[in-house]
C-alpha cells in the first residue's frame, strides 16, 4: 500500500502543469472556445506528436505508452485546472477506454493505434429519453435502436449531450434491440463518424469550453465487425466505460476546484477594502478554508478512485470496487467544483460577474461537468441502492 505519487507520476504531473500554464492561457481558452470544433488544431497536434498524452494509458501492444490510470488522472487534474480546450477527454477517457474495455482484439488492433496517431473519438449513448427520466445516466438512457439486416446491423436514433459529438472522427455508439428494456439488449458499435446516414450538429452550450453535439442516426448500416463484444450483452461494459470516464471527470473537476481556490486567494490578497486586503477578513478566510477542505477531500477521493480504476484495468480482485469508487469520487467532486466556483464568484465580488475575469468560465464548466455522466444526486442514489436495497451485507 502506498498512497503518494511515485517520482515518475510526479514528473508527469509537473510536466503537464508547466506545459498547460504556457499554452492554455486565458487568451488561448477564449480563442478556442468560440470555434466550432472547440479547440486549437495546432495545439492538439503538438500534444499528440510531441507529448503523446493521448497514448498515455493505451497498452504498448497498440502503440501506446502503457502507463496507468493514476498517471492519466494526474494529467487530467492539470487539464481541469487550465481549462484545456481539447478533444482529449472524449478521445481518451471515452473513446480509448471504450475500446480497451469492450473492443474485440481486431478492433483494438485497428483503432487504438489510430488514436495514438491523433484520431479523435467519442462515446455516444444518451438519448432524448434521459431528460425525461430525470437526467438519469443509467441503462435507460440508451434509446438508440439496432436491428439485424443479414450480416449487417442498422442503427437509428438521436443521441444528445455527446462530448465533441460534432467533431469526433470515431464514434462508439450504444444501441438497444428494439423492444428491450433497462440493461437488457444493449450493444456497442465502433464506427467512423462519416458513415452514410449520420448527421451531426453542434449544440450551442452555456459552457463553451467543452463542446456537445447531437448525432442523428438514420438507417446507418454497419458490418458485424463493428459490434463490440457479444450482441445485446454490452451493459456491464458500457457501465464500466462510464465509470472510468467519471473517475477521469472527477480528476478534472478537482483540478478546476483547485484553480478556483488559487485564483480566489490571490485575488483576495490583492483586493483592498476598508484599507486592508479582504483576505484578512475572517468571513473571507473561512470561505477560503472551506474551499481548500473541499479540494483536498476531492483529491483524496480522486486518487482512491484512480487506484481502483487501475486495479480494474489490471483485472485484480479490487476491480469490483470500480462502480462504487466512481460514484464516490464523482458525487463529491461534482459538488465540490460547483461549490468552489460559487464561492469564488462571490468572493471576487463585482468582477466575478464580468466576462473579462475567468471565474465565469469555471463557474459554467463546473455546472456542465456536474450534469455530464450523472450529477451528485444521481451518483448518491446509485450508492444508496447498493447500501440500502440489497440483502443485508455480511457484517
Amino acid at each position: 500500500m502506498e498512497f503518494a505519487f511515485t517520482d515518475e507520476q510526479q514528473m508527469i504531473r509537473d510536466t503537464a502543469e508547466a506545459f498547460l500554464a504556457e499554452v492554455s492561457t486565458s487568451e488561448a481558452v477564449r480563442q478556442a472556445m468560440v470555434t466550432d470544433q472547440g479547440y486549437d488544431h495546432e495545439l492538439w497536434q503538438r500534444i499528440c506528436t510531441e507529448l503523446y498524452w493521448q497514448a498515455i494509458h493505451i497498452p504498448e501492444a497498440y502503440g501506446g505508452l502503457g502507463l496507468g490510470y493514476v498517471e492519466l488522472v494526474a494529467m487530467l487534474e492539470q487539464m481541469g485546472r487550465y481549462l484545456l480546450c481539447s478533444p482529449f477527454f472524449s478521445t481518451v477517457c471515452l473513446g480509448a477506454n471504450a475500446l480497451i474495455v469492450a473492443g474485440t482484439e481486431a478492433q483494438k488492433a485497428e483503432f487504438l493505434p489510430q488514436i495514438c496517431d491523433g484520431k479523435t473519438a467519442t462515446l455516444a449513448y444518451t438519448g432524448y429519453q434521459s431528460a425525461r427520466h430525470g437526467g438519469q445516466w443509467g441503462a435507460d438512457a440508451v434509446s438508440t435502436t439496432v436491428f439485424r439486416d443479414g450480416e449487417d446491423f442498422i442503427l437509428n436514433g438521436t443521441l444528445r449531450y455527446v462530448p465533441d459529438g460534432a467533431s469526433a472522427q470515431l464514434l462508439v455508439v450504444a444501441a438497444r434491440a428494439e423492444g428491450s428494456l433497462g440493461a437488457e439488449g444493449i450493444s456497442l458499435f465502433v464506427l467512423s463518424a462519416d458513415e452514410a446516414g449520420i448527421s451531426r450538429r453542434l449544440l450551442p452550450t452555456m459552457d463553451q469550453t467543452r463542446k456537445q453535439g447531437e448525432i442523428v442516426l438514420t438507417d446507418v448500416r454497419v458490418p458485424a465487425a463493428a459490434l463490440m463484444g457479444a450482441e445485446g450483452q454490452a451493459w456491464s461494459n458500457l457501465e464500466a466505460i462510464v465509470d472510468l470516464a467519471n473517475v477521469a471527470l472527477a480528476a478534472e473537476q478537482m483540478g478546476g476546484a483547485q484553480q478556483l481556490l488559487d485564483m480566489t486567494v490571490d485575488y483576495t490578497k490583492e483586493r483592498q477594502q476598508f484599507n486592508r486586503p479582504i483576505a484578512g477578513f475572517q468571513a473571507i478566510k473561512h470561505m477560503a478554508a472551506d474551499m481548500m477542505t473541499r479540494v483536498e477531500v476531492a483529491r483524496s477521493g480522486v486518487y482512491y478512485a484512480a487506484c481502483i480504476a487501475e486495479e480494474f484495468l489490471q483485472k485484480t480482485e479490487l476491480a469490483v470496487e470500480l462502480p462504487e469508487a466512481a460514484s464516490v469520487a464523482k458525487s463529491y467532486c461534482a459538488d465540490a467544483y460547483f461549490q468552489n466556483a460559487s464561492d469564488a464568484l462571490q468572493m471576487h465580488g463585482g468582477v466575478g460577474f464580468t466576462w473579462e475575469y475567468d471565474v465565469h468560465l469555471y463557474f459554467k464548466r463546473a455546472k456542465a461537468s456536474e450534469h455530464f455522466l450523472g450529477n451528485g444526486d444521481y451518483h448518491r442514489e446509485r450508492l444508496a441502492q447498493w447500501l440500502l436495497d440489497q440483502d443485508e451485507r455480511g457484517e
Binding site: 478566510k285 473561512h286 477560503a288 478554508a289 481548500m292 482512491y304 479490487l318 462504487e324 463529491y332 447500501l387
Partner: protein, 400 residues
Amino acid sequence: MKLSFSPEDEQFRVEVAQWLQQNLTGEFEKLKFRGGPGDEHMFPHERQRWEQKLAEGGWTCIGWPQECGGRGCSIEQQVIFNEEYARAGAPGRAGHIGEGLAGPTIIAFGSDAQKQKYLPGIVAGTELWCQGYSEPGAGSDLANVKTRARFDEAKGKWLINGQKVWTSLAHESDYCFVIARTDPDSVAHKGLGFFLVKMAQPGVEVRGIQQITGTSEFNEVFFDNAECDAEDIVGEPGDGWKVAMGLLGFERGVSTLGQQMQFQNELNAVIREARANGADHNPVIRQRIARAHAELKIMRYNSMRMLSGQGGSDGSLQKEALIYKLFWATWHRSLGELAMDVLGPDSQILEDGPYQLTRLQSMYLFVRSDTIYGGTNEIQRNIIAERGLGMPKEPKVAVQ
C-alpha cells in the same frame, strides 16, 4: 500509488484477526463495540484489563520503536491493525492518550530517565494518562494558560497551582501531562513548561463535569500546590509550547483509521435503523446516507495520504492533514443529525428513565463536542487559511 497490501502484510492481518478472535472473549465479550467516544464512561476497569490483555499479546504501542517497548510496526501494519481491531468490534482504547500522545511526546522530547520511568507502564497498559491543556480562560486561546509552576528549592520539586478543564478520563488516570507557566511574568506561548504530574496526590482534585449527555467523561482538575519531581519536566522551562505543539502532530496519525472504523460501525447502525423503520425509502434520507458513506470512504483515503506523505521539513502539516480535523468533525456531527432524522419521532424516546440514552442518541449529543475540542471548527478554518493558504493572520490585540 497503490492500494493493495503485500503478502507479508496480509499474513500480518490474519495474525491480528486471529489473536482478536481468540482473546476478545469471556470477560471481554461485553466490551465489543463499547467504550468509543461518547461511550468512554462504560466499563473503565474491564477496558483497562483489556489493555493489559493486549499488552500480553504485544498489541499495545505497536508503532513505537522496539527499543521503547513497541513492536516497530510499519505504517501499513498499523493501518491493518487498526482496521482489524475495529472490524472485530474491540473496545475503545482506555490507553489511547498514553499510547498516542504522552508516549510519543516522551519519546520525541523526553529524557532517558523519563523514558525508563513512564514508557513501560504505557506499554503494559497498567498506567493511564490524561491531558491537561485547556483552562477556563484558555480554550481556543490555548496559549493563555494561567496555571503556574514554581520550583521550590527547599523541596527540590515543582509546585503547580491552577485549574484545567475538559480533561477526559482524569478520574481514571494515573498521570496527567500539564502545560503550566514557569515564568510568572510571561504571556502567551512564551514561558511555559510541560510537566508529567502524578494524579494520586493531595494537591490534585478531580471533579466530573456533567455533560449534555448527562454523563461525565470530562473533568475539571484543580492543582493546589501539586508536586512534580524536578526531573519530570519535559524539555526546559520555557519549552512547553514547542513540546505541546509537537504533540498535536501525533494526534493525526494512524489512530485516525481506528476512529474511522468506529464511524463505520455507527453509520452501519444508522443504516440498520433506516432499513428497519422504512426511512430507507425516503429519497432525502437516501441521499444523506449515501453522502455520509461516500465521505467516510474518502476520509479513509485522506488518512492514507496523510500517512504516505512527508510533512514539511519544518514539521508543518501537509494540506490533507491541515483539513482533516475540520472534515471529520463536521462529518461526524452530520451523522448524529442523520441518525435522529432516520429515527424520526422515535429519536426522542429514551432507552430508559430518568435519562438513559440509546447509543445513537448518545452519539448525536456527544458529537457536538467534536467540532469544539482540539481546535473548534472556527479555529481550524483560521489555521487552514493562514498556514495552508498564506492569508493574513488574525490581528493581535494588545494585552491590557
